[in-house]
């Protein structure tokens, strides 16, 4: 099974959660993806790596994570058996709402870099919550408990 973490921002929140899942949270600040607005604008899946449990982990940003979940379910429903299905985990960590606004402002020309730094700073401020939600999900998956996305 492959995993896709979807948050309102891909290169801030979803990246932090995905790295938490992979136990690579110490790489957040140094990651070339962190705060990379070119990657964010493309809205493509970002491959983060393979977890010890064999899951391939991706992240992406989308304003409506629930719609991404729905599209994926629809794709699956059109194809019967899928050998390597993708499980989508919508992420919403309380207190991180400002990161999305800052990320939008970070796309502005000239002054965007200033807001990018603020968005990075806000993400780092909430690293513990974001990373722990990734770890919680991983523990839920590996223990085969009913894993429930955070709301």
């Amino acid at each position: 099974m492959n995993l896709l973490f979807v948050a309102r921002t891909g290169v801030f929140e979803a990246l932090a959660v995905g790295l938490g899942y992979l136990d690579q949270e110490e790489q957040l600040e140094s990651s070339s993806i962190f705060g990379n607005m070119e990657s964010e604008k493309k809205r493509e899946l970002i491959y983060l790596g393979k977890a010890p449990d064999g899951n391939e982990v991706y992240c992406v940003g989308n304003k409506y994570p629930d719609i991404v979940v729905r599209i994926n379910e629809e794709i699956k429903s059109l194809i019967g058996n899928i050998e390597s299905p993708l499980k989508i985990i919508p992420i919403s960590v309380p207190g991180t709402e400002s990161i999305y606004t800052l990320s939008r402002l970070a796309m502005l020309p000239l002054i965007g870099n200033y807001f990018n730094r603020l968005a990075k700073s806000a993400t780092l401020h909430h690293t513990d919550e974001l990373v722990s939600s990734g770890k919680s999900f991983r523990d839920g998956v590996t223990s085969k408990a009913a894993a429930k996305p955070l709301k």
């Binding site: 493509e44 899946l45 992406v60 989308n62 629809e74 059109l78 899928i82 390597s84």
Partner: protein, 156 residues
């Protein structure tokens, strides 16, 4: 015969994608622009609700047996996401996503928003009529490209 799912998508899955999908499925003429009433009476045309976002709806089948669908993503830039979703599941050969957003002109944008956003079809539909008639020849060309099979691409 190997067939694929061809999915036309745009923001709302209500106007340009619906028309393109019906052209591809042979339900609208590709040689000339059909009467506007025929377009307006298409299933799904200017009828979607917010609950339809993310829903892949079947329109028909093309001459090669490929299933033709429409999708509204509630996002103006979803090509990378959709390709990524199928690539990550090794389904690349089974789907073709066709973005109709580049053909959404100002008339369609404003009319579509008025009709589907604040639910003012009486205001929005006249603009949609103008917009879809302007966009129609371009959508026909898009469908011609999208309908090419992989073999045709290789041969060209």
């Amino acid at each position: 015969m190997i067939t694929i799912k061809v999915i036309y998508f745009d923001y709302g899955g209500s106007h340009s994608s619906v028309v393109a999908a019906h052209i591809h499925a042979g339900k609208l003429e590709s040689s000339e622009t059909p009467p506007i009433e025929k377009i307006i009476n298409l299933p799904y045309f200017d009828k979607t609700t917010k609950n339809d976002f993310g829903k892949i709806r079947r329109v028909g089948t093309d001459a090669d047996g490929n299933d033709i669908h429409v999708l509204g993503t509630k996002n103006g830039n979803s090509g990378g996401l959709l390709s990524g979703l199928v690539d990550a599941q090794n389904l690349t050969d089974k789907f073709r996503f066709v973005d109709t957003m580049p053909y959404v002109n100002t008339w369609l944008r404003i009319g579509g928003w008025l009709s589907r956003g604040p639910s003012l079809p009486a205001l929005g539909r006249p603009l949609i009529r103008i917009g879809i008639l302007q966009a129609y020849p371009k959508l026909v060309n898009l469908v011609r490209e999208a309908g090419k099979t992989r073999l045709m691409e290789v041969l060209q």
